[in-house]
């Protein structure tokens, strides 16, 4: 401490140090400029733009000139007939996706990890990544095609004695098609992070377990799974944090008026009200409400996980 004080006779103020740093690293700061401008315009300006949620925003008056209406849009949404429906649908679809979709890539990774033949292993991996690269438009277009009463799903369903129905137009099957197709698309891609973690597991752990007489299944339970627990925890917190942020894109492509009762979620509702019907303030209010709920959920999930499992995002 004393020696430091001798080298630097007087501690510089923060402003002084900043000025020196800006001069010394001016090229580095210059390189940051495009990134800074990008984040300010496309991330931070919209964050300030949410004030329109508290205004009666009129495009010709602009953000500064529009009238302030307080929480009008929030109360209108929360007391209106649609809040319950879209929040319920978002939660059901999300929870359904998490319950079935979260374990799927883990199971796939465990199975791939047990394959001995490298060529077979690689082929399975390549094939399982494929759906991730097929565009959502194509996937949804094919889902419409396959779900129609003459489509592939009905051909298969009929072989099992199911009646012919349009799976996407029927309120009882819409969510299953939505969730299962999502798992089909992302299962292989999602397994990468688990496979990457497993490739770093020390093989001597398996040998030791085998010498102790553990069979294949017991080695999976006692060696492979424990190695995955930290990654699984972090992935689960992130997934739970997104429970209310189901994106609008797939819903917009799959739903139609006949299934709104089960298919309309918060983000598709925001899109319809805010952009299609040009009710910008209302849409922004619903979006902001949803963002805040998300932040709260993520914080709670992160806190719980830090207390329970000692793993957290921050």
């Amino acid at each position: 401490m004393t020696r430091c004080a001798q080298v630097l006779p007087h501690r510089q103020s923060f402003r002084g140090r900043l000025a020196r740093d800006l001069r010394k690293n001016r090229i580095v700061y210059f390189m940051w400029l495009p990134v800074l401008i990008y984040y300010v315009i496309f991330h931070y300006l919209p964050m300030f733009g949410v004030v329109i949620a508290f205004q009666n925003y009129k495009p010709f008056k602009g953000i500064l000139g529009s009238d302030f209406v307080g929480l009008k849009w929030f109360t209108e949404f929360l007391t209106g007939p649609y809040a319950l429906r879209v929040i319920r649908n978002t939660l059901i679809i999300s929870v359904y996706s998490i319950v079935l979709g979260f374990p799927a890539p883990i199971l796939l990774a465990l199975m791939i990890n047990e394959v001995r033949c490298p060529a077979y292993k690689k082929t399975i991996q390549t094939v399982s990544y494929m759906p991730h690269f097929i565009s959502l438009i194509v996937v949804c277009g094919l889902l419409h095609d396959f779900s129609s009463s003459q489509g592939l799903f009905n051909v298969i369903g009929e072989a099992f004695g199911l009646p012919r129905i349009n799976y996407l137009a029927s309120t009882s099957t819409y969510r299953s098609i939505y969730v299962l197709s999502g798992i089909w698309k992302q299962m292989g891609w999602g397994s990468i992070i688990y496979l990457a973690t497993l490739s770093a597991v020390d093989p001597s752990l398996y040998e030791a377990a085998a010498i102790d007489g553990a069979g294949r299944l017991r080695r999976i339970v006692h060696v492979t799974l424990p190695a995955l627990i930290p990654v699984i925890t972090v992935q689960l917190i992130m997934r739970l944090g997104q429970v209310m942020s189901e994106g609008s894109e797939k819903t917009i492509l799959l739903y139609n008026e006949s299934t709104w009762e089960v298919s309309d979620i918060v983000s598709s509702f925001v899109y319809r009200r805010g952009l299609l019907e040009n009710n910008h303030s209302y849409g922004a209010a619903v979006g902001l409400f949803n963002s805040l709920v998300n932040v709260v959920i993520l914080t709670v999930a992160n806190y719980t996980s830090r207390r329970v499992a000692n793993e957290s995002l921050w």
């Binding site: 001995r116 399975i124 991996q125 565009s135 959502l136 438009i137 990457a196 805010g274 963002s291 998300n294």
Partner: protein, 294 residues
């Protein structure tokens, strides 16, 4: 490890291989069905009602229609523009940002990092973003598909992690030789982090190839539409969501519809399915780097 060939172990391997085979078929079959459908005779396909293993009859009618459709050509051209220009711009901006975040001893680095990571957890939402893009004059401009998604935060963090893993000695010797930070980034850091750059290029390129939502909300002029928006019109034309004209002659469409749709899917999807297997070995590395915490 040399596994003892016990019966239970062999049984385990057999079952495992079988389940995985079933899954593989499940992943592949929809695309196989579409591929076979696209080469089928339109009328036999229209009246048939069964699983396809091979084309039903053979005809290239679907592909003929697809390549005569002017929209597909326009869409392809536009998409190629968005993919090339967009990917270059994104990779450039992302590597600049990643380089800055990988520097040591930068006074404002922590502040920059927080500023960037915060956007992963909170955003203004669809409507305010839309209004910003509109108000800065990007509405109905090709740039509206590139600038609002210029930097993927997660990609930038992946890149920063890989830059940080490079040995500091190379950079120091370059600095002694008088290289500044820009030279170091483009001549030393980027060439050394080739694997990561490849993954990021792939992520951005695939993202541009498949994106449609921004194009749908920001573009009005059809001559700027990317392929995916025309695909939407073709694939979802007879659902409540599709727009009206798909660019095909309506009178032919009745029984040609299926083949044309399948051929369109194949034409628009094959390029990307041919590329990704070559980058596959980098995927794991990329994912691991993104998961390293600050």
């Amino acid at each position: 490890m040399i596994e003892k060939r016990t019966w239970s172990s062999l049984l385990f391997d057999g079952l495992n291989a079988l389940v995985l085979l079933a899954l593989t078929l499940l992943f592949l079959y929809p695309m196989w069905y579409v591929l076979m459908g696209s080469f089928s005779d339109p009328f036999s396909l229209f009246v048939s009602n069964e699983l396809l293993l091979l084309p039903k009859g053979f005809s290239l009618k679907g592909y003929e229609q697809v390549f005569q459709n002017p929209n597909i050509l326009t869409g392809y051209k536009n998409t190629l523009f968005y993919v090339t220009v967009g990917t270059c711009a994104n990779v450039l901006a992302t590597s600049l940002g990643a380089y800055v975040l990988s520097r040591n001893g930068l006074l404002l680095k922590k502040c920059f990092t927080i500023m960037v990571v915060f956007t992963m957890y909170f955003s203004g939402g669809l409507i305010p973003t839309f209004l910003v893009v509109k108000n800065i004059g990007l509405f109905d401009s090709r740039l509206a598909l590139i600038l609002p998604t210029l930097v993927g935060t997660w990609n930038m963090i992946v890149m920063r992690t890989s830059f940080r893993a490079l040995p500091a000695s190379m950079e120091e010797s370059a600095r002694i030789d008088g290289a500044n930070d820009l030279v170091i980034l483009f001549r030393i850091v980027l060439p050394c982090a080739k694997a990561t750059v490849a993954v990021i290029v792939l992520y951005y390129a695939v993202g541009y190839w498949n994106s449609w939502f921004n194009a749908m909300i920001y573009l009005q002029d059809k001559s700027k539409y990317p392929l995916q928006l025309f695909l939407r019109e073709i694939l979802l034309a007879n659902t409540a969501n599709g727009a009206t004209s798909s660019g095909f002659e309506e009178s032919d469409m009745l029984y040609l519809e299926d083949v044309v749709r399948y051929a369109t899917v194949i034409v628009s999807t094959v390029p990307i399915l041919c590329v990704y297997p070559f980058c596959q070995k980098y995927f794991m590395k990329g994912v691991m780097m993104g998961s390293v915490k600050e």
